[in-house]
Amino acid sequence: MTNAPRRRFAQMLMRHAAYVMPSGGLDWGSAMQNEMQAIEDDRTALRWAIGCVIAGYNERVNATLQTWYARWALACLIALLALREFFAPVLIFTYRMQYLGLAHFLGLRTAGDDYRRLIPVMDATPAWLPILWAAAGLMYLVALWRMLHRKDGSIGPFFLAFALDLAGAVTAKSIEISTGIVVTPNLLVRAAGEVLTLFAGFLLWRMTRKKTLAAS
């Protein structure tokens, strides 16, 4: 064991690994830290320390995801995704049923602030497409309900909803091309929606995946 920069860097990483370990794992942080003292080779010690930092963050993320505030933040995010799926079907329904006051109110929440800009798109939308979006919204709600009740299998409905959403998006794109009207012109907003969905899916997977080795 030397006092070489590599060893000092490894020691610094180990202190960080012990710091990021969740409070319940403080003992484990010290265990990892002390174990490195037994490693003579600096290169191996550095690899050990890097691994411990990864383990520390892994445990920290797992612990954070089990807190009530992380659970509720994710619940709000999934609820938002469900709302987004229901928005277009409701707007199309209100327009077609001539509930124009409500259509105007909803239109204020669209790009351009006016539902009338979207009339050619809504006219060209086949009847099954809003049903598909509504089904996606329903699947998000099923995933949300299962997650909040700590039931197994919330990830399946979530990604089914995402797949339905993507299928709907492909059809909607062809409608946009045929009518020449872009519903959401801001590419950043469109991309953010998909990124947010995938992020929520990742968090849901991390939160609900089995950490047990054996369950009776």
Partner: protein, 102 residues
């Protein structure tokens, strides 16, 4: 309800290593050398096994003067039963098949 085993090949390797000398306390670094697992994989698995009551851990004074105490590990009796259950020839074959496919 029957026992559902949710485990990984890394867990199998660790269980196998711990089962070789089940009553002997082992250090984390020794387990890393024995299993070939990196510390970033090894410690989360050790932690889970401890949480499940399959592994016991305690502090031991280092045999070298001036060195801090070290954590040592060994399987509990339920851990030994679980490990024997997991490290059966069928499990090994399945693991080897998965490894070959990967």
């Amino acid at each position: 309800m029957g026992r559902r085993a949710i485990h990984s090949r890394q867990t199998d390797r660790l269980l196998e290593a711990l089962l070789q000398d089940p009553l002997v306390w082992q250090h984390g670094y020794a387990l890393m050398k024995q299993t070939g697992l990196q510390s970033g994989t090894l410690y989360p698995v050790l932690l889970r096994l401890c949480d499940q009551g399959l592994l016991e851990a305690e502090w031991r004074e280092s045999d070298r003067p001036g060195k801090p105490p070290r954590h040592v590990y060994r399987l509990t009796s339920s851990g030994r039963a679980f490990a024997r259950d997991q490290i059966t020839p069928e499990h090994k074959e399945a693991g080897a098949l998965l490894g070959a496919k990967a």
